[in-house]
């Protein structure tokens, strides 16, 4: 390995697109792209020509669906006349660079790693994850609904990324996190120069200033403490439940919601596919058993279950809240049943 590359480097802004173009020749690339309707979304980029890369806006959705698709075929099955029942797994994964992930979305991927890669590993997630190189862009300017400082998932991370970019105005500060990140810097070393002391200081300064620019103060830890103390009345959940219109949008847009259902989709009398699809714990059918019993009383308990999961149970199970402070549920929810409102309601209690 070439030891002359350090783990802190500089990429001149002018050289970003050329680097991406070069990377695109060797890897599948997923970048934040602004489409013709003016929406910025992660998109697979075939060619950088005519592609409007947007590193200034928050992507409407995270990159969750690239590692955990909304609809995914697990395997094809076939029933044969002689009584056979056979299964053929389907899984495709290509080496992919995700560029421009915000810290919150990257922290969400680290959470997904915990869920999908337990003792029994989810092979479909594993394949895509092992083939993913994560290059994040720390946020020097948090967006309107952001509160990653409160969930300790940004604006900059200490680890988990392969490379973390910081925008220093005319150049990017590029930190190597994991081995694959170092590989990229080494392979394309002619684009990078080692960072100086001043560069490091500027980066540190930028990350400090970012912390002061949040437009929302969301006291997540405080809410967790109150939930732990069981100091939260039912009326909060009743009010939130009344506002919830049962669309499931929060679960679908949330970068750390990973619940899914599995079903068979017949294609003919003898063949079919077993699919998995995103699911939401706020749906009544999520817990309803055959025969009709439902351990969760939908009207009053589904919303409570969702927020307790994010703010309390994941803290108890994994040591930290699974909310990454991206703020997307705030804009998504029709009824205003977002985690920001929930935390505010919990904390407003006397």
């Amino acid at each position: 390995m070439n030891n002359t590359m350090s783990d802190k480097n500089i990429l001149q802004k002018d050289h970003l697109v050329p680097l991406l173009r070069r990377l695109n020749k060797d890897y599948r690339m997923v970048l934040p792209v602004r489409n013709s309707s003016g929406d910025t979304l992660f998109a697979e980029v075939e060619t950088l020509d005519g592609c409007r890369i947007d590193l200034d806006s928050q992507t409407l959705a995270s990159a969750k669906h690239y590692l955990f698709p909304q609809l995914e075929t697990l395997f094809k099955y076939r029933i044969s006349a002689d009584g056979g029942y056979s299964f053929e797994p389907v899984c495709e994964a290509e080496p992919t660079i995700f560029f421009g992930l915000r810290s919150c979305d990257l922290a969400a991927i680290l959470y997904m790693d915990v869920i999908f890669l337990q003792k029994t590993k989810d092979p479909y997630y594993l394949q895509k994850r092992q083939n993913a190189i994560l290059i994040s862009l720390g946020c020097t300017e948090p967006f309107a609904n952001c509160f990653c400082n409160a969930t300790r998932s940004g604006p900059f991370l200490e680890y988990g990324f392969d490379l973390q970019f910081t925008d220093l105005g005319d150049r990017y500060f590029v930190e190597t996190g994991r081995v694959s990140g170092g590989e990229i810097v080494r392979r394309y070393s002619h684009y990078f120069t080692p960072a100086s002391e001043k560069d490091s200081k500027d980066q540190y300064q930028a990350s400090l200033e970012a912390r002061g620019r949040f437009k929302r103060q969301v006291h997540v830890d405080q809410a967790t403490k109150r939930l732990q103390a069981e100091d939260v009345p039912e009326s909060i959940w009743t009010e939130l439940s009344l506002r919830c219109q049962d669309c499931g949008g929060c679960a679908y847009i949330c970068p750390t919601c990973t619940c899914f259902t599995i079903r068979d989709q017949p294609c003919s009398a003898q063949e079919g596919e077993r699919l998995r699809a995103w699911d939401a714990c706020t749906f009544a059918g999520f817990t309803r058993m055959a025969g009709g019993h439902n351990p969760v009383q939908h009207r009053t308990q589904a919303i409570r279950k969702r927020f307790l999961h994010k703010l309390l149970h994941d803290v108890e199970k994994h040591g930290r809240s699974s909310c990454v402070g991206c703020g997307r549920c705030v804009d998504m929810c029709f009824g205003g049943v977002d985690i920001v409102r929930c935390v505010a309601m919990i904390n407003e209690l006397q």
Partner: protein, 284 residues
């Protein structure tokens, strides 16, 4: 570029229905063996665990073992008709092939049962997983199990399932069965009343006893309460819970109970485990 997936826990293994035992109008016991002989021989499980059962075009559902691993070669899955998949399964004949994944779940703490009196309390299909652990204990002479008392409640006399096992258990030394039905019939001469009423007749030395309970949620609630009342310590009352499940190994999220997953942290729990949690079966 497609990858070959090793260790794919979502992939079922084909198994053939060797025999079907009709327990009652709603419950059938399927005797199964895996089509791959080697796999069948090396397959192992413990009472209290479950398999995810695949029926073509119907998806999957979790079914507990009702057989004991001390009688290897086949496994028994006792299934009650309750929905699309179980209805379809009941339409299958001997010789049909289904898919199985597993074993999943935390088993009954069979070590803790040694040298104890055992009280089994079952309602309806709840006798199925208990049948597994009852036969497991009866097969192990060196377990040093004490008195064994099996209390079993059914809706009506026609709903009594596992009649053969009940007869066999009654024949065993130190093992007694007591049955009750919610609603009697002209021919029925036995107890009438909920299974909780049988608990009054329990004459075991509670301090040296473990209780294992399985049945509908409401029954579990009342039985657990009554057992506590009789003097059973919470850690000595064991139950097994049912939930809507999809993956069976802790990823899909359907079986969360607070921060516990019924498929991984259960389905076997002690009453002590459950007291801390917000659980349907214990809700007042």
């Amino acid at each position: 570029m497609p990858y070959r997936l090793e260790n794919n826990s979502y992939l079922p293994i084909a198994a053939t229905i060797e025999k079907i035992l009709v327990e009652n109008s709603q419950i059938k016991t399927f005797v199964l063996s895996f089509n791959n002989r080697e796999f069948n021989e090396s397959f192992s499980y413990l009472p209290g665990q479950f398999m995810m059962v695949s029926i073509p075009h119907c998806g999957e559902a979790p079914i507990s073992f009702s057989s004991t691993p001390t009688r290897p070669g086949t496994i028994h899955l006792s299934v009650r008709r309750a929905g699309v998949l179980t209805d379809a399964m009941h339409e299958l004949d001997e010789g049909a092939v289904i898919g199985l994944r597993g074993p999943f779940g935390r088993p009954f703490p069979v070590d803790q049962l040694q040298n104890r009196n055992l009280l089994f309390v079952a309602g309806g299909i709840g006798l199925a997983p208990l049948r597994s652990v009852i036969n497991y204990c009866l097969d192990q002479e060196e377990g040093g199990y004490g008195q064994k008392l099996i209390l079993y409640g059914s809706r009506t006399p026609d709903d009594i399932a596992f009649a053969e096992d009940l007869r066999a258990w009654q024949q065993v030394d130190d093992c007694r069965c007591m049955l009750t039905v919610d609603q009697g019939s002209p021919d029925w001469q036995g107890n009438v009343g909920l299974v909780t009423t049988l608990l009054d007749a329990v004459d075991l030395d509670i301090r040296r006893s473990m209780a294992l309970v399985c049945g509908p949620p409401l029954m579990i609630r009342f039985v657990l309460a009554k057992l506590s009342h009789l003097g059973f310590k919470e850690k000595n009352i064991i139950t097994t819970l049912e939930r809507h499940m999809k993956c069976g190994f802790g990823v899909c999220g359907h079986c969360y109970m607070d921060d516990k997953l019924v498929c991984v942290d259960g389905p076997v729990f002690s009453h002590a485990d459950l007291i801390e949690l917000d659980v349907l079966e214990l809700r007042p």
